[in-house]
């Protein structure tokens, strides 16, 4: 509960900094289900952060995210933009002495963040591109010309050359309402 100070600056300065019970006790289980790894076994040794290429150049601490998973601190985890600084190099996963996959905990949290409509735009654009072309990085004219020069067909043997495969791909993505949600989040972001 707010303290009722008439100065909002003071209210903010002295806001409650305890953490209490978990925001969402199911959060740990959800993360473990999606990430297929036992986050709750973490003993906070920091091997993950020590292995992380993003840690020395940012405030991203993967150990803290694992801690948030363990304690069910859902909001703190999903709204922290550092969540998107994991390069998924899996060094932490290889070295974790508890056999946990911290990388997959991050991936699970990103999946859950998507459900909260929190996803950086580049991720959503990749989805749109894959939906419409089958490729996250589609062909272009410069490349087509180069391909022909090399003796390759202008379009590779993929959905580019065989667009009849696209409806199947779209059906799979539609099953999960992936494109629909990506479009919505992107358009809302534009307002």
């Amino acid at each position: 509960m707010a303290k009722g100070y008439n100065d909002p600056a003071m209210e903010k300065k002295f806001q409650d900094r305890y953490y209490h019970a978990a925001d969402n006790p199911e959060f740990t289980k959800e993360v473990e289900r999606i990430g297929r790894t036992m986050a709750h076994m973490c003993y906070q040794c920091g091997t993950c952060t020590g292995s992380c290429p993003s840690a020395p150049r940012s405030s991203y601490r993967i150990r803290k995210f694992v801690r948030r998973a363990v304690m069910g601190l859902e909001r703190e985890a999903l709204t922290d933009p550092d969540l998107w600084l994991c390069t998924t190099c899996y060094s932490c996963t290889d070295r974790c002495p508890r056999g946990i996959a911290p990388t997959d905990i991050i991936m699970a949290m990103r999946n859950l963040a998507f459900k909260w409509d929190i996803v950086p735009r580049n991720f959503l654009k990749t989805i749109q591109l894959i939906y419409t072309t089958g490729h996250g990085v589609p062909n272009n004219d410069v490349n087509r010309a180069a391909r022909v020069k090399l003796g390759l067909d202008a379009e590779p043997e993929t959905t580019h050359k065989y667009p009849e495969f696209l409806p199947g791909i779209q059906k799979i993505m539609d099953h999960y309402k992936m494109k629909e949600n990506a479009d919505r989040i992107l358009s809302e972001g534009e307002h």
């Binding site: 003993y43 920091g46 993950c48 020590g50 292995s51 070295r95 508890r98």
Partner: protein, 671 residues
Amino acid sequence: MAEEKKQPRIGVFVCHCGTNIAGSLDVKAVQDYARTLPGVIVADEYQYMCSTPGQKKIDDAIKEHDLTGIVVAACSPRLHEPTFRTATKEGGLNPFRFEMANIREQNSWVHMHDYEGATDKAKDAVRIAVAKAALLEDLYPKSVPVEHAAMVVGAGVGGIQAALDLASAGIKTYLIEKTPTIGGRMSQLDKTFPTLDCSQCILTPKMVDVGRHPNIELHTYTEVEAVEGYIGNFDITLRKKARGVMTPTEATAKGIVGGGCNGCGDCDAVCPVIKPNPFEFGMKPRKAIYIYHPQVVPLIYTIDFDSCVKCGLCVEACGEKKAIDLNMEDSFETVKVGTVILATGYDMFPIEKKREWGYKQFDNVITSLEFERLICASGPTGGHLIRPSDGATPKKVAFVLCAGSRDNTGVGKPYCSRFCCMYSLKHAHQITEKIPGCQAYIFYMDIRSFGKMYEEFYYRIQDEGTKFIRGRVANILEDAKTKNLHVYAEDTLLGQPVDMVVDMVVLAAAVEPTQNIDPVRKMFGVSCSQDGWMLEAHPKLNPCGTTTAGVFLAGVCQGPKDIPDTVAQAEGAASAASIPIHMGKVELEPYFAQCIEEKCAGCGMCTNLCPYSALDLVEKNGRTVMQVTEAKCKGCGTCGGFCPGGAIYMQHFTTPQIVAQIDAFLLGGEQ
């Protein structure tokens, strides 16, 4: 077996064990059910059957109802069978007329959420037990004499202490050591925590004592080859590995008067073959004829025949002592002992398997035992700690704790190695003391300083200036030019990544059971626990014993422990091992095989199956039949499980008894 057959009159007693049993199943229903079973004269229940009033119930019921058999439904017979057998005996029945139904460890504790299922299972267990109890017979334990001698396998500090205790208690003790000298790991250490005693200084007096104790027969460079027999009467064959050098005693026995090795080292000086010394982890050379270090006990040289070129220079140098025999071969000796203590110690986990820390990839990453040798005055550098890459004195040293311990990746060891925290604190102290301006960094997850004066030692080391960084080391990289090391971790207390550049890294590598110890463990019939260490009989109440009667454990072979704990356990094991010897006899459970001669066809299949050669074919009344030597039979029943004619009678586990149990389970038997 000759007593008159009486109709079975059985008493059943169901234990609540507080709520341990009664909380998960219906004790009353089990009791009521027991009353319906054939032969059951009385069925009772009690809060704690193992208590004095509980036992008294058995005593009273036997007398009151003239019972022939007792069933107690309670915990595991592995826990309280002896208790209730005694109670049965006190009631006037033969103690082997007792049978236990396990409704706790194998029922109420494992079906805590299925009251009905657990109750049904308990009823079945009681029915099965009653069926067996109805067929139980009077049996009499066999008393066997105990050889007034003991063996200790492994002569590290644990084995040395155990041997000294046994010997001082007047028991002839064979101390067996596979390496050429006694002393074990402790002799490789420089100082000991938390007192900072010189390890050699406190160990060598004990080593010398071993060497001259009249009751200790020391066998170095010797391994256990075979074990036969049982408590009181172990026949143990030793393989005395060919050492190539005779002791004065051995020389005298061969008629070389005044000869034999006196440790002068003349041979060492002339030997042309140079090899790394394993005692110094290869950091110092030795010859093909060698001693590990000057304080070895016994002070006898050993030839490494794998590298010896048999040039004969040593034989020449030895001269009239004629101690050296280049054609020596392994020899065997069998000794008889009453009890055995295993003190086989540990090895370092091969930490190079944790690739991220670069051991064996980077010169200046060493293990803690290598550090011990490098800082030890008698070590390869005379106690001057230097970097392997360039011989420079390190000014910054990082200690990596839990290197391979507390590791659930499948590469390292899941357990805590228990003494690394403390010796790393000691190492930090040593470099701070020896090298002015040298900074120690200890990378740790938890500092486990639980022993007497340990936490105080931690306080002291912190006060001396060692920096503690709470974070497990992620990886180590080498600077190709300087050979300095970058230690990467997270300072988890600050939440900040660390790139600590140091001159040297010491890995507090996990410990694991001694290489190739499994055959020895199995020869003595000792199990191992999940972590690979030898399994004690009970983790709390019998930490020195094993499931093989007469075999005891001391030291790290049972699980990681430091020197105080090892010595304490060694003294405990010595005490336990001396009891049967001082008693002079032990009672063996009377689970012997018997031959039912009229059924025996004399086929002899069983004689080959018996692992103890307890069965023989003999002529009796013109027929060939099998005969059991009871002293050799250990009661496994393997013969009885095979006999095609059903001619083998396994006491206490007879075929009729077991079949009755099966019938009782599957066909019921309620009245």
